[in-house]
């Protein structure tokens, strides 16, 4: 059973009546292929954590919506190597309604160029959503991080489309309570702090299985080797 009427990553709809390019479906992840990841390597961005890359089938999906669910807005540290790499580009890293102040010295210590940050703060939920969509669509951002209060599935869908349109990584940090809600996101992760770091469980992954989990070491034990080395090596690799 092949889902030939799935929506492709570029926003075109194929129907069973049309001649369908199988390779294109594979590339876009519209074709489910059991254990093997269907996403082409160029549509993935390495997370900088080997253990996480293995879990995600290669890395973060590019130009797609990612949801990180947690109890208390956790999971930003998973993205630091990616943000460090993206911040080397002349594009904005937009943060919409972050729960606290992003601590600039810590970001800089992880290789993130804070000059690329654009903070959208003190706005209503509707304005925040508008800003996130505009930023995603603009093509002027490499990543948009948002901490929305509540989202409907239709709004998630809009953000997903905007991310595709602007070739931009969209990461939403949401509450664990929303895990039961359906979502068009390409990737949904559940994040829980456990003593060596963060436990990451895949709830949904485009072109792959859900249900797997791993532990990304971000604790003090990992401070010296794990986090710093991976963050530094990936940022130097890019520049």
């Amino acid at each position: 059973m092949m889902p030939l009427h799935g929506k492709t990553g570029r926003g075109r709809v194929c129907t069973a009546m049309q001649v369908v390019d199988l390779d294109e479906l594979k590339r876009n992840g519209a074709l489910w292929q059991g254990r093997r990841s269907g996403l082409a390597p160029d549509s993935l961005l390495s997370s900088g954590w080997p253990v996480l890359d293995r879990l995600l089938g290669g890395g973060w999906p590019r130009a797609a919506l990612i949801e990180v669910l947690s109890d208390a807005h956790q999971g930003l540290s998973l993205l630091l190597p990616l943000l460090a790499r993206l911040s080397a580009r002349p594009r904005w890293l937009v943060w919409v309604a972050p729960p606290h102040v992003p601590y600039a010295p810590a970001l800089a210590a992880h290789g993130v160029r804070v000059g690329q940050l654009l903070l959208v703060r003190d706005v209503s939920a509707g304005q925040g959503l508008w800003a996130a969509e505009q930023a995603l669509k603009s093509g002027a951002c490499s990543a948009v991080l948002a901490w929305p209060a509540q989202l409907q599935t239709a709004q998630l869908r809009r953000l997903q489309l905007a991310a595709e349109q602007g070739d931009c990584v969209a990461i939403l940090f949401r509450s664990v309570r929303t895990a039961a809600q359906g979502s068009p996101a390409a990737l949904r992760l559940l994040v829980r702090p456990v003593p060596p770091g963060l436990q990451v469980e895949v709830l949904k992954r485009r072109g792959g299985w859900g249900g797997d989990s791993c532990i990304v070491p971000i604790g003090p034990e990992a401070m010296d080797d794990g986090l710093h080395s991976s963050g530094a090596s990936s940022s130097s690799h890019e520049s």
Partner: protein, 483 residues
């Protein structure tokens, strides 16, 4: 010399209607022989059978809902003056006659890529500003004005062509001088050609000195000095709206008219502006003022309109608007960038869309809500970062103080006091402190001195937190969050 005359046949009407996309039946009246007579009427009024020359009661009998405005010559002159500000981009020599604007374009034709392109641009922009126009070209200023009124589209660019073009015109077009009228009435000289055939001294004896002088000026045989017009230092124009506008988005139409006029003015000065000041006037309410900022100097009306649209969307009107004004006090020297030609591609493409996004966000949300971030060299966590203008360069002199230890990704806006039980700080249960403390002691010099021991703590739920013990007050506080 080549003079371009722009004649605005509907000016008395358009000074009232240009603020509106559509207007109801409207006539402009002026007194004639003691009675109000229709001088101009718009298309909607014509549909009722109203024509110029009707008396006002007759016009009202044809259309009960007719809007009537008395002709306002001062306002027409103001409109001409405003158009001169716009037209200064085409020529530094500008002069006026009633309902007429005269530009010397001989010197600047090549700059604008020839006459057809110049005329096309003039007509398009005047349409956008809100005036319909008839034009004519002639080698003398008097002839250009005469031809624009009587033979629109005529181009008499040589003396012979000029003589031929004006010859057939009735003498009454040229002057209302009583001496000239006598000639027409008593000896049947109807056209300008008839008069040109007469010897000048005889003509002067019969008609008085004015007519021969006028003919000499018309043909360029005598100098025709005109007062020199100078552009104003500021742009300040107002469009009065026929009636009231209650919807903010409907204001964009007259706003764009003002922007096109502004951009012509700026091109004339070789400048661009970053700050537009808008005023909305209400009937029984103090006026609403707001500013519109641009990230870099611009004179592109479409870009300005796009930015204004964002601004206007969140505007709350206290009352319907009866007039809209635009003022620009300062402008900067401005070079037209080549991104228009390249269509936004090339190396500065992404940077352009960067600024466009920033402009959209700041205009919609306000500048306080869209900020950049930078490091600041200070040991106190509260002072180790600063909000700044987005995109401000994070240069090496603002490098963070290097801590040897872990720093949290998040900082709480205010340290949050923690409860303490049996001298152990609590956060959803007792906190387990990891490592030895880091002491931060600084700030005695600016009145915000801190003496704190910072710990990395692990909560019962597994979160890594940044807490400190205030060594003066002896309380425990949560200040940051890792992960």
């Amino acid at each position: 010399m080549l003079w371009l005359a722009l004649y605005f046949p509907q000016l008395p009407l358009e000074v009232f209607t240009r603020g509106r996309q559509q207007a109801g039946a409207l006539v402009v009246v002026e007194p004639s022989a003691g009675r109000e007579q229709v001088s101009r009427c718009n298309g909607a009024a014509q549909a009722y059978g109203i024509r110029p020359g009707l008396t006002l009661p007759a016009a009202l009998a044809l259309c009960a809902g007719l809007a009537v405005q008395r002709r306002d010559r001062a306002r027409e002159q103001r409109a001409l003056d405003e158009m001169a500000s716009w037209a200064y981009q085409f020529s530094p020599r500008i002069s006026f006659e009633p309902s007429l604007l005269l530009l010397e374009v001989g010197a600047s034709l090549r700059l604008f890529g020839g006459l057809p392109r110049l005329l096309e641009m003039v007509q398009r922009e005047l349409g956008q500003i809100g005036y319909s126009v008839q034009h004519a070209l002639a080698t003398t200023v008097t002839a250009a004005g005469l031809l624009a009124r009587s033979r629109p589209g005529c181009q008499a660019s040589t003396t012979d062509a000029l003589r031929e073009a004006v010859a057939a015109l009735p003498l009454a077009c040229l002057t209302r001088d009583p001496g000239a009228r006598n000639l027409v009435r008593h000896i049947g000289l109807d056209s300008i050609a008839d008069v040109l055939g007469l010897p000048r001294p005889e003509l002067a004896r019969r008609s008085g000195p004015q007519l021969p002088q006028l003919l000499d000026r018309l043909l360029g045989e005598a100098p025709d000095p005109r007062p020199e017009w100078r552009p104003p230092q500021h742009f300040s124009q107002t469009i009065e709206l026929l009636g009231e506008i209650g919807q903010t988005m409907a204001l964009l139409f007259p706003a764009r008219r003002l922007m096109v006029a502004l951009c012509g003015f700026l091109r004339g000065l070789g400048g661009g502006t970053q700050r537009l000041q808008w005023t909305l006037m209400h009937r029984d309410h103090p006026e609403t003022r707001f500013g519109q900022g641009l990230l870099e100097p611009s004179r592109d009306p479409d870009h300005m309109l796009e930015v204004l649209r964002e601004r206007v969307e969140r505007l709350q009107l206290p009352a319907p608007v009866v007039a809209i004004g635009l003022r620009v006090d300062d402008w900067l020297a401005f070079e037209e960038s080549n991104r228009d030609l390249l269509g936004g591609s090339g190396p500065d493409g992404p940077a352009t869309s960067d600024r466009a996004l920033l402009e959209r966000l700041t205009n919609r949300l306000g500048g306080q809500c869209v900020r950049g971030l930078r490091c600041h060299a200070d040991h106190r966590p509260e002072h180790a970062w600063q909000l700044c203008a987005p995109g401000e360069l994070d240069t090496a002199d603002a490098m963070p103080v290097q801590h040897g230890r872990a720093q949290p990704l998040w900082l709480l806006a205010q340290p949050r006091p923690l409860q303490v039980q049996q001298s152990v700080p609590q956060y959803g249960g007792p906190l387990r402190l990891e490592d030895l403390p880091e002491r931060i002691e600084a700030g005695w010099w600016d009145g915000f001195d801190v003496t704190r021991d910072y710990f990395v703590a692990r909560s019962r739920a597994g979160e890594r937190l940044w807490v400190f013990r205030d060594r003066r007050g002896d309380g425990w506080y949560l200040h940051g969050v890792f992960m």
